[in-house]
């Protein structure tokens, strides 16, 4: 038996810094350790600040999912005040947030994930030339089309939120800008143009045709557009048998509208759906470079261990729900929401292909929702009301970022922030081990991955890690 230890990283084409240590025996990974080597200390900076400052500071945790952070902060402040956004304000927030999530999925697919299929290591495969033409990093035709389409659809966020990234418009009482009738028409035509992009480039068919696939076979057998190219590659490379998740899916539910969340909240495990009990969340610090005890985020603190002592190996805390690790993200969200093809795929456990398929499904479904939401905007309605915050209290803000469940927990004393904790999606997915020695989802997913003797940056490991779309700047914050 040959064993070796391998350090993979830094990973490029992920947001932020990431390193993974692998133990390899006889050509397969036997253990993996995910390290988030960047720490900024947002939770420490928030202490003593005016609660409203959370709206400006926390979105700056991440330049790619800043609206998710903004929406979570706003929801936490709203919960603190016991108020919800006005209905039209909630609708405008959902539009901005939905667009950001779709953009993140597109970026992941075109710029971060599929670029690996253009590698010379795959030369000779039947699809390789097409993958090179479409997905080569920075040059592929799909990469370029995606950058242009994203820039255009973000006009809508510009119209509603003033600027992207780091919009300021989302507030506990609504949004600061009431769109005009003209804005609504313009947003509608921008969405129509985006639909054309999706239908001619990504799906090669009407958005509805993809969104409404009913079976796992129809989804993984899709053969049109770039989605079809991906499915062809996935079948050839066995991406459906690679990078298995824990089989436990968490979603906080996406887009908090007056009628409820547009994608459902829940936990899916062993073929059954149960409600999310956020009271059962604990952040375990046993393998994080952090001082302190395991705690619920409403009581958690952040004291970095500057000596970086073993056995800790990451700045990332290890969140657990009822003592268990959870997979979160677009696939989890679609499974929890009950999409038939996603549920069918979840009968095996989640894998590299399923995670990418979940994003593609969500792009299609969100496009349909966005069109409906824009049509429902009422320019004459009120979009915001003043919300005054209590001097003492606590709040919980739960949203779904592109990469999964995002929560903000705030405590306020004497009108100042006395506690602020954030659990980001990648904190769940890339968590280190907990006190019981249980690995995080990515660490577990990597076990069994093939690593040939000659590989220093194994391709299977690249695919598995990237299938979770890590956002490392959010992970540790």
């Amino acid at each position: 038996m040959t064993t070796r230890s391998l350090l993979v990283g830094p990973f490029n084409r992920v947001e932020g810094d990431l390193e993974i240590r692998l133990e390899v025996a006889d050509g397969h990974v036997t253990a993996a350790y995910a390290n988030s080597p960047m720490f900024r200390g947002f939770e420490v900076m928030m202490l003593g600040k005016d609660p409203m400052d959370a709206l400006t500071i926390t979105p700056r945790i991440c330049g790619i999912c800043s609206i998710s952070q903004s929406a979570a902060a706003s929801a936490a402040l709203g919960d603190l005040a016991g108020r919800a956004q006005l209905p039209q304000g909630a609708l405008a927030t959902a539009i901005m947030h939905g667009i950001e999530n779709v953009c993140d999925h597109l970026t992941h697919f075109n710029l971060f994930f599929c670029a690996d299929f253009a590698r010379p290591a795959y030369a000779g495969r039947s699809w390789h030339e097409r993958a090179v033409a479409r997905f080569t990093a920075m040059e592929g035709s799909a990469a370029r089309a995606c950058v242009a389409a994203r820039a255009e659809i973000l006009h809508i966020v510009g119209l509603l939120g003033g600027k992207w990234p780091h919009t300021l418009a989302i507030q506990p009482g609504g949004v600061t800008r009431a769109p005009t009738l003209r804005d609504r028409i313009r947003m509608g035509s921008t969405l129509a143009s985006f639909r054309r992009y999706l239908e001619t480039t990504l799906f090669g068919a009407p958005v509805e045709a993809f969104a409404e696939v009913e079976t796992a076979e129809a989804l993984i057998g899709w053969d049109k557009g770039d989605a079809g190219l991906f499915m062809e590659i996935a079948a050839d490379l066995g991406l459906g048998e690679m990078g298995f998740g824990p089989g436990r899916y968490l979603s906080f539910g996406a887009y908090l509208l007056p009628a409820g969340r547009a994608f459902a909240q829940g936990v899916w495990q062993d073929g059954a759906l149960s409600p999310v009990d956020t009271g059962a969340i604990r952040e375990d610090l046993s393998h994080a470079w952090m001082h302190g005890d395991t705690a619920h985020p409403s009581e958690g603190e952040t004291h970095p261990d500057e000596d970086m002592q073993a056995p800790a190996y990451s700045w990332c805390k290890a969140p657990r729900l009822g003592g268990q690790s959870m997979e979160t993200g677009a696939f989890a969200r679609q499974v929890v929401d009950g999409h038939p093809a996603a549920r069918a795929l979840a009968q095996q456990r989640s894998n590299v292909r399923a995670r990418v398929a979940g994003r593609l499904l969500e792009i299609a479904r969100t496009q349909i929702l966005l069109e409906r939401w824009v049509a429902a905007l009422q320019p004459e309605a009120r979009f915001i009301e003043d919300v005054s915050l209590p001097a003492h209290g606590s709040g919980e803000g739960l949203v779904e970022a592109a990469r999964g469940a995002l929560g903000h927990w705030i405590s306020v004393e004497n009108g100042r922030i006395s506690g602020y904790q954030i659990i980001a999606p990648t904190t769940w997915n890339f968590s280190p081990r907990d006190a019981a020695g249980l690995p995080g989802p990515v660490e577990a997913a990597l076990v069994g991955a093939e690593v040939s003797e000659t590989e220093d940056t194994p391709l299977t490991v690249q695919h598995i890690v990237r299938s979770f779309d890590p956002c490392m700047v959010c992970t540790v914050h």
């Binding site: 490029n12 947001e15 330049g63 800043s66 253009a118 920075m138 600061t176 003043d386």
Partner: protein, 366 residues
């Protein structure tokens, strides 16, 4: 890539037509405020001068600068991004991964010694020997120093690299430090903002690549062409400020009518940036247009000025023709050296330029 490869060669090899190229030159000239006579000069420069390589590194940051950059509406921006400058090394977008990527950076440094531009996004945290940001097994500060050593010039993208930004907010847990405090022997151009406007980023980099020199900088090291005026000076809500029509609460009638956001904490009067003219997301809007005040994200220390919704109280009403240097850092709400002198100058000028007595609104008005 031969050393004599020009920008034009690169653009041609990416399939950009001559017509698009000329259009690009014309638009660049106008974006930079240069006359039509500069178009052939820019074209000639692009055709004859060797391509300047760019190394783009990421420290402690949120990647918002890159995100802004890749959705620029600047002339053929996606081609600027994806081909013209041909980022020789970029953590976020490049194909290579792992140590091969690190090797690619070393190759570029070696090959273009003294000739490449180093673009820095984010900043190095210095606490605990830089352990809070490890890239390729080493503290980012070491990578930064190594990449800077042979650079021709450095661009500090965004508020992080320029000033520290929110991650340097009290108590600055990681001692996040702006680039110019670590690299002291190279020309550095600061392009602040969180993030900077895409068109400002492409404008700056285009200028540097085309003319092979830094654009004119203000005293803080920012390109004067984009940071020469306050948001307030060109704000479309300015008439409401002058008329004393203010939004008093998020949902009031004034908010609906688009009145001035000064009383809601807008920092436009003390912020130097091009948001109110260039605007965001391909010229669609900017924060004030979305009904929220400016937070002054392109100013040093904007993250630690009390809450973002406090009204600016140190404002004196200067004339619109002043720039940052004339008015001075004190008026810009920034504490720094030489404050007293410039404050005095500003006060004097404001007295000359406007007959009004100091209209500094106070809290009693609310």
């Amino acid at each position: 890539m031969a050393d004599i490869e020009t920008f034009y060669d690169v653009m041609r090899s990416q399939g950009i037509t001559r017509r698009s190229f000329m259009k690009y030159c014309a638009l660049t000239a106008s974006a930079l405020g240069l006359g039509p006579a500069f178009v052939p000069k820019i074209a000639n420069a692009m055709e004859t001068k060797p391509r300047t390589p760019v190394i783009w590194v990421h420290g402690l940051e949120c990647t918002c600068c890159s995100e802004s950059f890749i959705r620029s509406a600047h002339p053929l921006a996606k081609d600027v991004v994806l081909s013209m400058i041909s980022l020789d090394y970029d953590d976020t977008l490049m194909a290579a991964a792992g140590h091969a990527a690190e090797a690619a950076m070393m190759d570029t440094i070696e090959k273009y010694k003294g000739n490449y531009i180093l673009a820095v996004e984010g900043n190095p945290p210095l606490n605990e020997d830089g352990m809070f940001c490890i890239s390729g097994g080493k503290p980012f500060v070491e990578k930064l120093k190594m990449a800077a050593k042979d650079a021709k010039a450095i661009i500090s993208w965004g508020a992080c690299a320029s000033y520290g930004c929110v991650q340097a907010a009290k108590p600055n847990p990681t001692q996040a430090t702006p680039v110019h405090k670590v690299i002291t022997d190279k020309p550095i151009i600061k392009v602040p903002g969180c993030p900077p406007i895409a068109e400002v980023m492409t404008g700056v980099i285009t200028y540097m690549l085309t003319f092979d020199r830094l654009p004119e900088l203000d005293r803080q090291g920012r390109p004067a062409m984009f940071y020469g005026q306050r948001i307030h000076d060109k704000c479309y809500r300015r008439p409401h400020f002058d008329a004393g029509q203010f939004v008093e609460a998020w949902d009031d009638d004034g908010a609906r009518k688009g009145y001035c956001l000064y009383k809601m904490g807008c920092k436009g009067p003390t912020t130097y940036n091009a948001c109110s003219t260039v605007r965001w997301n391909e010229g669609v809007s900017f924060p004030i247009q979305s009904g929220h005040g400016c937070i002054g994200c392109s100013e040093d220390g904007f993250w630690d000025q009390g809450t973002f919704y406090d009204r600016v109280t140190d404002l004196t009403q200067f004339g619109v023709e002043k720039n940052a240097d004339q008015i001075g850092m004190a008026a810009a709400g920034v504490v720094g050296g030489g404050v007293a002198l410039h404050a005095a100058v500003s006060a004097l000028k404001s007295a000359q330029s406007k007959a009004q007595t100091t209209p500094t609104p106070t809290n009693e008005e609310a």
